[in-house]
């Protein structure tokens, strides 16, 4: 079989003691980078690129190291989500919803192991999907024009209502707030700055890492100060860590479904891992219905977003390798690395440079196995972070966040903005307005607006263009159903109170 011989070629390139060592180092660094709030996978990989040059690594070794860091960061993001209720990076946002409540029930170890396994399943299936279907799947990108993208993002926002809150209106307000923040910056369709007040730092809009760290980590510090160290929600108990076989077994279908959803979201350029974990979580939540107990710390709620975001991470490699279109921020950085190594991704990469593609795929499989081994038995190491008293832990996390954010742009303005978001997060939580929709608004709002504006340019302002293809119509129907259904079911569904609110 072609694939097997190709894979053998890949492993013959990627499997040597030296590259294995690089994979282990990369996975470890990646996990830490992912776990630290403010240091996301994309800047983690970007920071490490100079090392590959300094070490004089060849193309394959550099790729092994960087993809290990990439996958490692996707694994690591869940750790601070679960333990601290602070997402380590954007895609780990959804993991806070059930992961943290689960940890508060004293099942921190279970949540970490379960999410580790879910990450493995997602990443593993996505890598298999990548190697079997990449050239074929690349065509999917051709089916999505502005109208289809608009409907896709609309679907994401329509399912937002009621998420992470027992009050739909408050979730909607939060989402609108996020959409408003997403409008800051230079308007792509006219080149004119909006809401920047003449400040150059606002020209590119608000970085979502700044918003995430502000709304979660800094706000947490304010609560901690207010309560003189008692009111903080950091109070997760640690019991002995065992492997929760039962949870893993009962979530097997969740993992498979979420991997599929995440993989597809990852393939769509621009949608990326955040949308993958979000859609995976929301689809599992609606499948589970009222008995699912999503938001209270259920196993499915932990497994779904982690399978989803790791599968999306793999899926995002499809358009990057086959079209040269990065599907997420991190793949954009990997693209840069490939270009510096004189490898130009595109439709001919699979035929022109098979050793690169299959070496990459083999190294993804290796990294994934290393990460599972690293994350499950070593989970105790990460859980021990909790034994550090909050009055040391919180300022420490905050300090690292400041360094991480500063490394993004090298400007103090982002730090001020981050503190501003911290105050906003504090006020919102006091008002019982959920902060997750704010982030999603910032994350997806810009893309959604761009899609709408492009559609209107192409169609001369004819709104019917938005319903011009079967894919668009299907997404619209799903969006409308997703928005209306909860309204009628509100009486039936007793919305669980979110623990941290």
């Amino acid at each position: 079989m072609d694939i097997l011989s190709n894979l053998a070629l890949g492993f013959s390139i990627a499997l040597s003691p030296y590259t294995l060592m690089l994979a282990v180092i990369g996975c470890f660094l990646g996990t830490i980078i992912g776990a630290l709030p403010g240091l996301g996978p994309s800047n983690g990989v970007a920071i490490l690129i100079p090392i590959t040059f300094t070490l004089g690594l060849d193309a394959t070794s550099a790729l092994v190291l960087m993809t290990s860091v990439y996958y490692g960061a996707m694994y690591g993001g869940r750790i601070s989500s679960i333990l601290l209720n602070i997402p380590g990076d954007e895609p780990a946002l959804m993991t806070t919803l059930d992961g943290y409540p689960m940890a508060k029930q004293g099942r921190a170890g279970d949540a970490l192991v379960l999410s580790g396994v879910a990450s493995f399943v997602g990443a593993f299936l996505a890598t298999i999907g990548l190697l079997l279907l990449a050239p074929l799947l690349a065509r999917v990108a051709y089916l999505f024009g502005p109208a289809e993208y608009f409907a896709l993002y609309l679907l994401a926002f329509c399912t937002l209502g009621g998420m992470a809150s027992n009050n739909q209106a408050k979730a909607a307000i939060a989402a609108c707030l996020g959409l408003g923040i997403a409008m800051v910056g230079v308007d792509n369709n006219s080149g004119l700055p909006r809401f920047t007040f003449g400040n150059m730092h606002l020209m590119d809009g608000v970085d979502f890492l700044v918003a995430i760290v502000g709304l979660f980590a800094i706000a947490e510090v304010f609560f901690f100060i207010e309560g003189h160290g008692k009111g903080s929600s950091l109070g997760v108990k640690l019991e002995k860590v065992t492997i929760p076989w039962k949870d893993i077994w009962t979530t097997k279908w969740t993992m498979l479904r979420s991997s599929l959803v995440g993989f597809i979201a990852g393939i769509l350029p621009g949608a990326g891992a955040s949308l993958g974990s979000f859609l995976a979580y929301m689809s599992e939540k609606s499948l589970a219905g009222k008995d699912g107990g999503f938001g209270t710390g259920v196993a499915r709620g932990v497994a779904a977003p982690e399978s989803g975001n790791n599968a999306a991470a793999g899926g995002a490699l499809v358009p990057m390798l086959t079209l040269g279109v990065p599907g997420s921020g991190t793949t954009a950085v990997l693209l840069a690395l490939l270009m510096t190594l004189n490898i130009t991704p595109g439709p001919t990469l699979f035929t022109d440079r098979p050793e690169v593609v299959w070496g990459l795929i083999a190294s993804l499989l290796i990294a994934n196995v290393v990460l599972l081994l690293m994350n499950v038995p070593m989970v105790r190491v990460f859980v021990r972070v909790l034994l550090v008293p909050p009055w040391i832990l919180l300022p420490g996390v905050t300090m690292i966040s400041f360094v991480g954010i500063y490394s993004l742009s090298g400007s103090y303005f982002d730090l001020l903005l981050m503190v501003g978001f911290g105050i906003l997060g504090y006020v919102l939580r006091k008002l019982d307005v959920p902060t997750v929709p704010v982030i999603l608004g910032i994350l997806l709002g810009g893309h959604m607006e761009d899609a709408l504006r492009r559609a209107m340019v192409i169609a001369d302002g004819n709104l019917m263009y938005l319903f011009s293809s079967p894919i668009a119509i299907g997404l619209w129907i799903a969006a409308v159903v997703g928005f209306i259904a909860p309204m009628f079911l509100r009486g039936v569904l007793a919305k669980p109170q979110r623990v941290s609110d």
């Binding site: 100079p50 090392i51 300094t54 051709y142 040269g324 950085v333 840069a336 550090v388 192409i458």
Partner: protein
């Protein structure tokens, strides 16, 4: 792992990334990793070190913001006398300076060292497009401006947008605001929109279309360079089709204004060495760049000319007042 260990690791991580900063030169890529400016910094920096033009690896800093404006402002306002600083630049830099998009900053506030390669502009269509050549497309737009929508990797008013407008100006089409253009996230994305049939044509750079030309998904109907590009000899220039437009996206560097002439000449010399190296020639071929070497004083006058031209054009088409 305790917290202190964790922060030590994080600290080590960060400092590892900055190996050699102590006295090594720095290259600012005014964009996130992954784009053309990032490529310029990383490949020029790497080659300068590999061929021994500098004795320490050049540290690349990504300073994204305001389409390069943040980095430009930073250099002018805070690093004006830094002799160890180079900044990646391209046609986008001069276009934005010409359009006053850097908040009042002007091209004469820095020194342009040189360009050592250029990415020729292209107009491409999907393989099943009815347009066989540039003339047919321009005629179609003249007859019905709404019938052709362009997709490009730059925002409205950016270089990719200006390319078709420059062509249309040559054929006497004045109703330029009627031309449909959508700015997407990069050239590859513009191609997927065009192959998918959502837009009728793609405007971008040669490097962005190379893979898709080889795979046969798109056809390039005109390249906007003086002469045909080596390796793509069957693609006609706009000029030979009777439309006198040359629009190349050069890749080069600028340095702060306040450095001495010796420093300027030193960087010009190093850049020339890169241009002459085999490594750079390989990198150009792999990335679809055509030779375009203007280093030192020549380049500064070239930039002045380009800025004047783009400013006039932008006024004509109403992108700026």
């Amino acid at each position: 792992m305790t917290l202190s260990n964790k922060s030590i690791v994080a600290g080590a991580l960060l400092s590892l990334g900055m190996i050699g900063t102590a006295s090594a030169a720095e290259c600012i890529a005014p964009a996130n990793p992954g784009g053309g400016w990032d490529f310029t910094c990383r490949s020029i920096g790497k080659i300068m070190f590999d061929i021994g033009a500098v004795d320490k690896p050049i540290q690349v800093t990504n300073m994204a913001g305001a389409g390069g404006g943040l980095a430009f402002n930073h250099v002018v306002a805070e690093r004006n006398e830094d002799a160890d600083l180079i900044i990646a630049a391209s046609s986008a830099t001069s276009t934005r300076l010409a359009q006053n998009a850097y908040a009042g900053r002007t091209a004469d506030e820095v020194r342009f060292v040189g360009a050592i390669g250029a990415d020729p502009g292209v107009i491409a269509v999907a393989k099943d497009s009815p347009f066989e050549n540039l003339g047919q497309m321009l005629d179609a737009i003249k007859a019905d401006p709404g019938s052709v929508a362009f997709a490009g990797g730059s925002a409205v008013g950016g270089f990719d947008h200006l390319k078709p407008l420059m062509l249309l100006q040559r054929v006497g089409f004045t109703d330029i605001t009627k031309v449909k253009y959508i700015g997407v996230d990069g050239g590859a994305d513009a191609i997927t929109q065009t192959v998918g049939g959502f837009t009728q044509a793609m405007t971008g750079d040669m490097s962005e279309v190379v893979g898709f030309v080889k795979s046969g998904d798109i056809r390039v109907i005109a390249v906007l360079s003086e002469e045909r590009v080596p390796g793509f000899d069957d693609i006609p220039t706009a000029k030979e089709q009777g439309f006198d437009v040359v629009a190349v996206n050069w890749r080069g560097l600028y340095i702060p204004k306040g450095v001495s002439d010796d420093t300027f000449n030193m960087w010009a010399e190093r850049l020339q060495k890169v241009a002459d190296s085999d490594e750079w020639k390989e990198a150009m071929v792999a990335n679809g760049l055509a030779p375009f070497t203007k280093v030192g004083g020549d380049f500064q006058s070239y930039i002045d000319g380009v800025v004047t031209e783009v400013r006039q054009l932008s006024k004509d088409i109403g992108v700026i007042q």
